[in-house]
């Protein structure tokens, strides 16, 4: 149930609560590292009982990749963006495994495999089914509501990914070393959340001073 926090909180702040206001001057940055110490479980795939051969080699998704975001964003930070992002299907895995976008972003689901894929989601923020399409083709989905969208392939049960749709721009996805950086954060008190593999796992509170600056905040996800 913890995974459901993100859409609820994003909607709550979008309505305008006690969050700090956007300010032109004194904006700060929050950076740090998310260390995932737990061993991510293997992708859940249905046993290939009816197959006549070994399953083809597939890439394992990078489940250590995390998203760090402000739980309550400054008021006035909720403008819609018309951005684009790509989630590829390669070696029977979604790449990236975690994609964080703002509301209004269109995601292109490209297929770089030689086989069919069929991307779909039954998540409440965005239900869609792109049907089967072959290599070299791409289909797009626009995300207009904040929340967590779980993405699957209908043909390959081991394929899954997350798309986190934010109503604001104060979030960052960790790099290969687990580092993140959120820039242009107005002065004020914030709750900052580290999300990993379907759940908001660690929460911290911190204050960006009036004169801005760079604040450090590390997380350990166990």
């Amino acid at each position: 149930m913890r995974a459901a926090r993100l859409p609820l909180l994003a909607l709550a702040v979008a309505a305008g609560t006690a969050a700090p206001r956007l300010a032109g001057a004194g904006a700060g940055s929050i950076r740090g590292r998310v260390e995932v110490t737990r061993e991510p479980p293997a992708p859940a795939a249905r046993p290939s009982i009816g197959e006549l051969s070994m399953p083809s080699p597939r890439d394992l998704p990078n489940r250590r990749r995390s998203v760090v975001y402000l739980e309550a964003a400054p008021q006035g930070a909720f403008e819609e963006h018309e951005g684009r992002a790509v989630m590829d299907q390669r070696h029977e895995a979604f790449v990236p495994y975690v994609l964080a976008v703002t509301v209004g972003t269109t995601v292109d689901f490209t297929n770089s495999d030689r086989t069919y894929h069929n991307v779909f989601s039954l998540s409440k923020p965005r239900r869609f089914d792109l049907g089967r399409y072959a290599t070299g083709q791409s289909k797009s989905v626009r995300f207009d509501r904040p929340g967590v969208v779980r993405v699957f392939c209908e043909i390959h049960s081991h394929m899954s990914a997350f798309i986190l749709v934010f109503a604001h721009r104060f979030f960052a996805t960790t790099d290969a070393e687990g580092r993140y950086r959120i820039d242009n954060v107005p002065p004020g008190a914030y709750t900052i959340v580290a999300w990993n593999d379907g759940e908001a796992r660690e929460t911290r509170t911190m204050r960006v001073p009036e004169d801005g600056g760079v604040l450090e905040q590390d997380f350990v996800v166990r």
Binding site: A42, L52, M54, T115, R132
Partner: protein
């Protein structure tokens, strides 16, 4: 025993070869659970009864599947099923080995998936867009593997009554028992198989104990079935398959009960073609299966042709519509009233909707209509719903 020892030795060598290289991935164990429950009216015409004497339209099934990768190229797979709270049965249990790392060549041994046709390997309730099975894979004809008719009249008396058949010859002649389908999709056969290819062209062959109609764990006649399938994928989304099988289907008890001059080897021979085309929201599938059984007491062998065509179209995310057309026809023999098909031909149409509110839950509702040119009940319509939950 000698053959089994040879097979075991060969497998051991293959497994040893497969295990020689360190596994690239961590050893992993995957477990799957599927629970399905179909609720429909009583099938008074026995159109949907299976060889386990259950109706596919009134069936609760718990299925546990497991796949255990002991090494990079060696895995054990199995499935245990319980139907209608009966005795759990081992449905699949086999070893899968890829002897050479860089060659698409696989060997499977044990209670293995059938290589013939396409439907039998669609393992999960969620893979079947409707509730019923194709006629060729489920409908019980009036033939048995443990009892045989003495005359054409014996056979014609049972026309359209394959769910319970009694014949004068054989160990099982005393009690009526279910007949044989063309291909039994509810049981798998025991033996070993090889599979070659992973690209546009793939081929599989299997040597097993039973036959398509009568898969077996224990051999009951000393004969073996050889079956094979070739699949060609000329473009992504299109699969063309051709299958063949030949195996002895009559048990030694039946053959032993026959007059001396009739004792011999009696085979089921079958040929099949299948096609699947999928694109966007559509999947279209069709199969044709021609089966012929040699019979000891009749002058001619008995043939049957099964044809099925089905389509599925997604309407909305999580919602689809599907339909299937089925036909089962039989060769003609001379009876007291003239020339007539040895079993009653059957038509079946089925159409339905499937809705998945979440990924692991699928609810189906389907309307099925059956017509049969013989038997006590000649027509039966069934409105059935089914819930499938898996994880």
């Amino acid at each position: 025993m000698k053959r089994a020892a040879l097979l075991a030795t060969a497998l051991s060598a293959i497994v040893a070869a497969a295990g020689a290289e360190p596994p690239a991935e961590p050893r992993r164990f995957a477990l799957g659970v599927e629970l399905s429950a179909a609720v429909g009216p009583e099938d008074r015409g026995f159109f949907n009864y299976t060889s386990y004497e259950d109706s596919a339209q009134r069936l609760a099934r718990l299925s546990l599947t497991a796949e255990w990768h002991l090494a990079e190229r060696f895995a054990l797979l199995g499935e245990v099923r319980d139907e209608n709270l009966g005795r759990p049965r081992v449905y699949a249990l086999y070893a899968r080995v890829r002897p050479w790392r860089d060659r698409a060549f696989d060997v499977q041994a044990g209670l293995v998936p059938p290589v013939f046709g396409a439907f039998s390997r669609r393992r999960y309730g969620s893979d079947n867009p409707l509730i019923g099975y194709p006629l060729a894979y489920q409908y019980l004809t009036s033939l048995r593997s443990d009892a045989v008719p003495g005359t054409e009249s014996d056979l014609l008396v049972t026309r359209g009554s394959g769910w319970l058949v009694r014949y004068p010859f054989g160990w099982g002649s005393a009690e009526p028992e279910p007949g044989l389908p063309l291909v039994n999709a509810l049981r798998w056969d025991t033996g070993f198989q090889v599979h070659v290819g992973s690209g546009p062209l793939e081929a599989s062959a299997a040597l097993t104990q039973g036959t398509l109609s009568s898969p077996r764990v224990h051999d009951d006649n000393g004969g073996k079935q050889l079956s094979a399938r070739v699949a060609w994928k000329p473009v992504v989304g299109l699969i063309l398959g051709a299958s063949g099988a030949r195996g002895e289907y009559l048990s030694r008890d039946v053959v032993g009960a026959l007059p001396l001059e009739r004792r011999g080897h009696y085979a089921q021979k079958a040929w099949g073609v299948d096609v699947e085309y999928s694109r966007d929201r559509w999947i279209l599938r069709s199969e044709a299966i021609w089966s012929r059984w040699q019979t000891p007491m009749l002058e001619r062998s008995l043939g049957a042709l099964g044809f099925t065509a089905e389509g599925r179209c997604k309407i909305l995310p999580g919602l689809y519509a599907a339909a299937r057309l089925d036909r089962l026809d039989f060769t003609r023999i001379d009876g007291p009233a003239g020339r007539v098909s040895w079993d009653a031909p059957v038509w079946r149409t089925e159409a339905g909707l499937g809705y998945a509110p979440v990924r692991h839950v699928l609810a189906k509702v389907a309307y099925q209509h059956n017509w049969r040119d013989g038997g006590r009940v000649r027509e039966r319509a069934l409105l059935t719903s089914q819930l499938v939950v898996w994880f």
